[in-house]
Amino acid sequence: MTEFLNAIILLSNFVIIPALSYGSQLALGALGVTLVFGILRFANFAHGDLMAFGTMVTIFLTWWLQSLGVSFGPLPTALLALPAAIVITALFALLTDRLVYRYYRRIKAVPVVYIVASVGVMFVLNGLVRILIGTEDQLFSDGQKFIIHANDFKQMTGLSEGLSFKVTQGLTIALAVLVVAALFWFLQRTRTGKAMRAYSDNENLALFSGINPDRVVMVTWIIAASLATIAGVLYGLDKSFKPFIYFQLLLPIFAAAIVGGIGQPIGAIVGGYIVAFSEIASTYVYRKFLIYVMPESLEPTGMAQVLPTEYKFAVSFVLLVVVLLVRPTGIFRGKVL
């Protein structure tokens, strides 16, 4: 029995909890991509760098707050800086829409033109973030580090495996649940949210019934920028902030959005967790886990790892390709592409 419990704890510590928090971060990112896709009908290649931009603003504000001596008790100071950073990032997103994307909506450009434009925005954001904050790793997490420390857990339960639960992990999961709940309430219950869904479903019909497209687009950018900032900050708190990594996150995020069904908010969330779990579960070394659960005669001799750890990122692309082959609309029947 203890053997079995140890196995479960081991798995939670190294697979389930990390995957839950990483999945939440991906889900928030994928929600932004999927909303922009649903309303503006293009895949936004600049989303990863928008996340980096929002996180960078948060870091600057956090440093400023810290220099004033402000702190948030056991929670990271970055949370206090987050609302202002969201406002700044949303303003930036609205500015890019005004200066770049609006023109292409006017001339009813084909989707590819939007993608090229978003690649341009991606380059600009990429340069801007590196010019302002540099390319190095930035750690900006402060406050308490653990909710449950591995050693405390061992003492508490008497098991040989420890379970550690970081504040940033707990925060990520809690905040993701809150944000997603708020987003769904907004989309289902409010007038603007319903207008957005109508616009996404059938643009002409929505325009016919008097929905103001400019307002829908504006709200979409504000939500996408907020989600990007939150996702970016949570990822940065959990790991660290490095501009290049944020650019790389773009692909798992796209994978999450497409696996779930692009244009479908619920799909983005499910997709985020699927991508995160498959990335972590397929590169985890199961050796110790199998030693716990298997009878002695069947214990593994090798590492019992499906894929080397270096392929962690590649797993999401493989998933993407498989979904493209088997079910191009994704799990939740997103837009037919």
Binding site: F37, F42, A43, F45, L99, V100, Y103, V110, P111, V112, V113, I115, V116, A117, V119, G120, V121, M122, F123, V124, L125, N126, G127, L128, R130, I131, L132, G134, T135, F244, F247, L251, F254, A255, I258, P308, E310, Y311, F313, A314, S316, F317, V318, L320, V321, L324, L325, P328, L337
Partner: protein, 457 residues
Amino acid sequence: MTHRQRTIFAFSILAALLLFVGFGQSWSVALVIINLCLVSAVMALGLNLQWGYAGLFNAGVMGFAALGGVAAILVSHAPVEEAWSAGGGNLLIALGLFALTVAVGYIVHRRMAAGNARRLVMLGVILIGYWSFRGFFSDAVRAIESVDPVRTGFLGGLGMPIIFSWVVGGLFAAGVAWLIGRIALGLRADYFAIATLGISEIVVALLKNEDWLTRGPKNVSGLKRPVPYEVELQSSDWFIAAIERLHAGALSSAASAAERQDILAQFIISGSSIFVKLCYMGLFGTVLLIVLGLSVRALNSPWGRMMRAIRDREDAASAMGKNVIFRHRQIFILGSAIIGVAGAMLTTIDGQFTPGSYNPLRYSFLIWVMVIIGGSGNNLGAVLGGFLIWFFWIEAEPASLWVLGHAIAVLGDGSAIAQRMIDAAPHMRQLLMGLTLIMVLRFSPRGILPEYVRHIR
């Protein structure tokens, strides 16, 4: 301005820029830039084939360039005999089993009716196949990677002249493009872009981590050159004689024999480095001219007109009996092959293969900027874009440092801020590139040299 005048004007400005670097910085720097411009131009031509002729948004240029790079090591590196004898047998068995698995899977897929039974059998085939080759494969990899890991630790290549790898790189890229085409062509543009971007990341991830094939993060350096080495030149009589004749004037004004020897030695050293770069320039220029010539002829042929028709009105072309999917696949493979050639050329001039250096910003999206700013659908435009964008990508840093130097001199040395600005200078190029792309797309969406169609009167 007519089309012709515009082309001449644009290329004159380009030549002036390069001459400016030659006189201002040094000829060696100018030649390095020109050589990489030539490689970029070939890549841009490949992408132009896909995007300009057929409207395919291939965001995976990086992957094909990296495949070309692998070809360079697999062709030119000397074979590592010990590694072959240590793990070669097991590796071949593993590859054979893998091929068998794929073949059985294919047959099952073809012969059985679609449904749950087929899915189950397929799953079984894949699992059994994976289980059977994995053992041989990991044994082989372990054996190969433990052969003198500091110097080799991989299988090496065929030990042939590196210039063959340019063709092989193209073939590698074409093969992978065929596979990607099976998976991703026919999807909407966004999906195709994301899929190619993802697959190119998979390709690079494989090259980074399969040490038995590419040495992975340990890199392969010291690849043989297709052109002479500086040291060889410096000791060969004909070269010294040529340099003496070239600089006869400067040499005759030397006061003493010793001084003359000193000056001559300097000329020989700088001359040999320039000569090597000129050789590369000749080779790359030849490839560029061949690719350019073929592309222009293809564009003006019935095949080119058909491609443009498919791009502009896919449904109409399809209704006229053109096989759209087949043509898309064909041009995707052709364009990718050209990018593979360019990738092999790039590894050749670098003399080393560093899988870690492949990143999508530099290898996929920058090539995109070249094609779009140069003029999609216009081959000379793609060449111009390749030259111009690479030039600015390289020169943006020294230029912004130069501007900053003056700004700091005027503002006074405000240490912290000045240092921050100097650190930021290398990243100005991303910002400038992005702004240029956005501006060109908005105000001149057809690029500097727009697509030009010769109409038959």
